[in-house]
């Protein structure tokens, strides 16, 4: 399958995503320049981390007007799998492909460390190979990861099972101490109603090789490969 990794001016985690998709899990991968409108037959779109447009105005606010985003939105509307990582998640929120918004971290600090996430939902292309409740360890590096939505939206997202990842302790407890940024309900990642668009603040592409400290994130890329292979697995693998 083919991964398309969007590159905005200021994206800086595009190469990590390319490395994992091409060299670690062995699929086709290419970069999609933000000014182009050709997704080049990609089967999965990744919006990588970084500082698109320098985070000017608001994180992800200017990137949403890039020509490529019209095509990404159309691709998502057709059911194509889209993964937004960190700044990519922020772009998806600003574009409205995912609900909610990001505030500055409650601590007012740029948080750069490994965190634990509990996988809440396995019914997305990026988590279908991961057992529900499994805890993944991967790094965050952000200043604006404080996920916010009004109460009505939060209730609806929760009720529809669209909170995909929650910050947790290593053994899967949800508490304030494990929340690195003040995000509502420890939300680290969510999906859309159709469940094909997923955004998360942590970086699975920096946790896909044991040599980097954790390869827990690799399962997300393996999952979407399986999803695009068309076959439905009989059961999730831990």
């Amino acid at each position: 399958m083919k991964f398309g990794i969007v590159v905005f001016p200021g994206s800086n985690c595009d190469h990590d995503a390319y490395h994992v998709t091409k060299h670690v899990i062995g699929q086709e991968a290419h970069f999609l320049w933000h000014g182009d409108t050709d997704l080049a037959g990609s089967d999965c779109i990744i919006l990588p981390g970084g500082f698109s447009y320098g985070d000017y105005l608001r994180c992800g606010a200017l990137a949403k007007f890039s020509p490529v985003m019209r095509e990404v939105a159309a691709f998502a509307a057709r059911g194509g799998p889209v993964l937004g990582i960190c700044n990519g998640f922020q772009v998806l929120l600003e574009t409205g492909l995912l609900e909610g918004a990001m505030l500055r971290n409650a601590s007012l600090r740029f948080v750069c460390k490994h965190v634990h996430l509990r996988v809440e939902e396995t019914n997305t292309p990026f988590t279908r190979l991961i057992a529900r409740g499994r805890v993944l360890r991967m790094p965050v590096a952000h200043m604006e990861g404080n996920y916010y939505a009004d109460e009505e939206t939060l209730k609806r997202i929760e009720a529809e099972g669209r909170v995909v990842f929650r910050y947790s302790t290593p053994d899967g407890q949800i508490d304030a101490a494990s929340n690195p940024n003040g995000a509502a309900r420890n939300i680290a990642g969510i999906c859309n109603g159709a469940r094909n668009v997923v955004g998360l603040m942590p970086h699975p592409e920096r946790a896909s090789e044991a040599a980097l400290g954790s390869d827990d994130g690799r399962a997300m890329f393996d999952s979407v490969v399986a999803a695009c292979a068309g076959g439905r697995l009989a059961e999730s693998v831990a």
Partner: protein, 82 residues
């Protein structure tokens, strides 16, 4: 067509936590020279835009404020002709 100046002020909705405003508030408290109840930080955009009339300029500014300059989930805005 004339060039009109419109000022757009974007502020966080009152229900949204403002940690930056709180940090500023703490520092002001530390000065001990003023008794401040609350501080919330916003943004000012000054637009110089071409329009047929001041009213048209305001309308355009409101559109830009809604679609670009503010995030309606978090923020409200006010436009005024300068």
């Amino acid at each position: 067509m004339k060039t009109h100046r419109v000022r757009v002020i974007v502020t966080l909705k009152s229900v949204v936590l403002d940690p930056q405003g709180q940090a500023i508030h703490q520092v002001i408290d530390g000065l001990g020279t003023a008794h401040v109840q609350d501080v919330r930080q916003g943004k000012v955009f000054d637009l110089a835009l071409d329009a047929e009339s001041p009213q048209a300029a305001l309308l355009t500014a409101e559109q830009l404020a809604r679609n670009v300059l503010s995030n309606p989930i978090l923020e409200t805005f006010a436009c005024s002709l300068q």
